[in-house]
Symmetry: C2
Subunit: 336 residues, 2 copies
């Protein structure tokens, strides 16, 4: 029997205007579930939230060291970056280091999420190339591993390619599952995305937080990936981005990563806990408020951090002239 | 006892990735509910979906005729327009006709929803004024009525102002309710928004579709408002906008209007029916798919229209390179 989902309300004036349901789990590295909301056996596409798991291969294959990658690059491999100049330039420099360019990225292109960066491009009448794609760091990490291991780079996004098969192996090990028959789809950036029970994804995140259950090489990679995310929060997201802001404010306490369709993964090294959240309806506002509630329940923030993050954890709803007209916050009753 | 909600699934590959619940009602002008999903007694802010109701005052006070307004202006009074040049220029010309300017609009400003229009502004290093606000037509309608009746224009967005009190009276009559104690909030554009049971909003839309139950002056206004929306679908939304596209394709069969937080109102003059949809989670993709399902159930589209609108009624989910990776569509099972 599952616990009720975590309910997030969006208020306006005297009414709850909209309501979200989130599935969520907090797990330890042994798979023990500390806290759960909703049916955590449900398979969920981790989307970009599991990029920290996908970055393990970059480190443990030796590719990261072979090309002298630092925290900035490893953080970018875990990133959904906002396409600001420093993100894009770091990706380009990294691609040059492995003898490739943005033309080798198979993720497609889109406008930067960061509005000033988007406006600067538009004002310069420029079209973004694939280096601007929020996943360009992850893809550059994939290419780096392929180059390091002498694999073909072309077609690295296909399920059958050694890069993706290696990632599947990592996921099976850290999630403790045979994923050969798991539900499968194509992610926004073209790579396979695998349906994994939410509780298992939380456990995988716990294994990044405390790699005691991981094989030695993978444990070293896990520590390096989490340390890079916490050292370079800006590279993982961008200016003002929810996860970046939380990682900057509560520095060293957590690594946090969003994914499309309302997924969040959290890593709490100090507590050895992993978190996975999925907003049933795919909205990030719901997933963020759920993450806020869970981090609060786990006592992650001190009083000063809680004050500094108040408008992130339960954000105001603003109208067009900037007046607060409501709030996004956990429902007052536990369940509905 | 209410029927189950209307469930909209977002698929990706072999999995339902996200799921939405919608409340919806189809009503006749006498308030009889033809079909319902979820708890339609629940108070819902109609937001911009009820602009056609708010436009009644513009016509029935004589203001529209006094200033020689045509279908374009009346459609704009019902619009959430996308800020394209023709929208903005028509609003500016209308404001000049009543002796005012964009500086008199109290709705605030935002970038055009239409991307080419947004890019053109950015490329020209221009900042949008309030004429670009998607609600600028509605606000110009409010100002027109105030000028016509000799009321002060300043503060016309406040609950206590004659403009808003008049709208409250219209809503009470068309919805058949005393709204003095109804839940209330502030809309994105600054005006009061009133919580009205969803079934009553559907009935109000049915009264626009078939004004037999309305007082004579209001009935004339209703016919004119609905005719203007159907004559000028582009003015009600914009290029490629969901409701505009449906109104263009099924010309003369329906008037349709979205509102923020997943609300849609539909008017079917031929059938004398009104529709109101609210996506519980506030997402427009869910509300649109629900509208599609309901219009299908009501037999609104012929085979050619259904084919032309297929990618609107159950839209594909595309990845960054434009590959179809899923669909947004009603759940296969009726309820969950």
């Amino acid at each position: 029997m599952s616990h009720p989902p975590l309910i997030i309300d969006v208020t306006r004036g005297s009414l709850v205007e909209s309501r979200h349901r989130c599935i969520a789990a907090v797990a330890g590295p042994d798979g023990g579930v500390v806290r759960s909301w909703g049916d955590i056996e449900q398979p969920v596409y981790g989307r970009s939230a599991i990029k920290p798991l996908l970055a393990l291969a970059l480190v443990e294959t030796g590719a990261a060291d072979a090309f002298g990658l630092g925290d900035a690059e490893i953080a970018l491999a875990c990133a959904s970056h906002s396409g600001e100049p420093r993100h894009v330039e770091t990706v380009r420099a990294w691609l040059r280091r492995i003898g490739l360019s943005a033309a080798d990225l198979e993720c497609g292109a889109h406008m930067p999420y960061d509005e000033p960066s988007m406006r600067a491009l538009v004002a310069a009448a420029q079209t973004p190339d694939a280096a601007y794609n929020n996943c360009s760091g992850k893809h550059t990490g994939f290419l780096t591993t392929a180059v390091h291991l002498g694999e073909p780079t072309r077609g690295y996004i296909r399920y059958e390619h050694p890069v993706q098969q290696r990632l599947l192996g990592v996921l099976e090990q850290v999630c403790g599952l045979d994923l050969s028959e798991a539900p499968r789809g194509v992610d926004g950036c073209g790579i396979p995305t695998i349906g994994i029970p939410l509780g298992n994804t939380a456990m995988a995140m716990a294994r990044l937080a405390d790699p005691v259950e991981l094989p030695p090489e993978r444990a070293i990679a896990a520590k390096r990936v989490v340390a890079a995310m916490m050292a370079e929060p800006y590279m993982v997201g961008g200016r003002g981005e929810f996860a970046s802001v939380l990682m900057e404010e509560a520095a060293g306490k957590l690594a946090l990563k969003p994914g499309a369709e309302g997924v969040y993964a959290g890593i709490l090294p100090g507590q050895g806990l992993g978190i996975c959240v999925k907003a049933e309806d795919g909205t990030s506002r719901a997933a963020q408020a759920a993450v806020g509630r869970i981090l609060e329940e786990l006592g992650v923030f001190d009083a000063a951090e809680r004050r500094a993050l108040a408008d992130r954890l339960t954000p105001p709803v603003l109208n067009r002239v900037g007046l607060e007209v409501g709030r996004i916050r956990p429902a007052e009753k536990a369940a509905f």
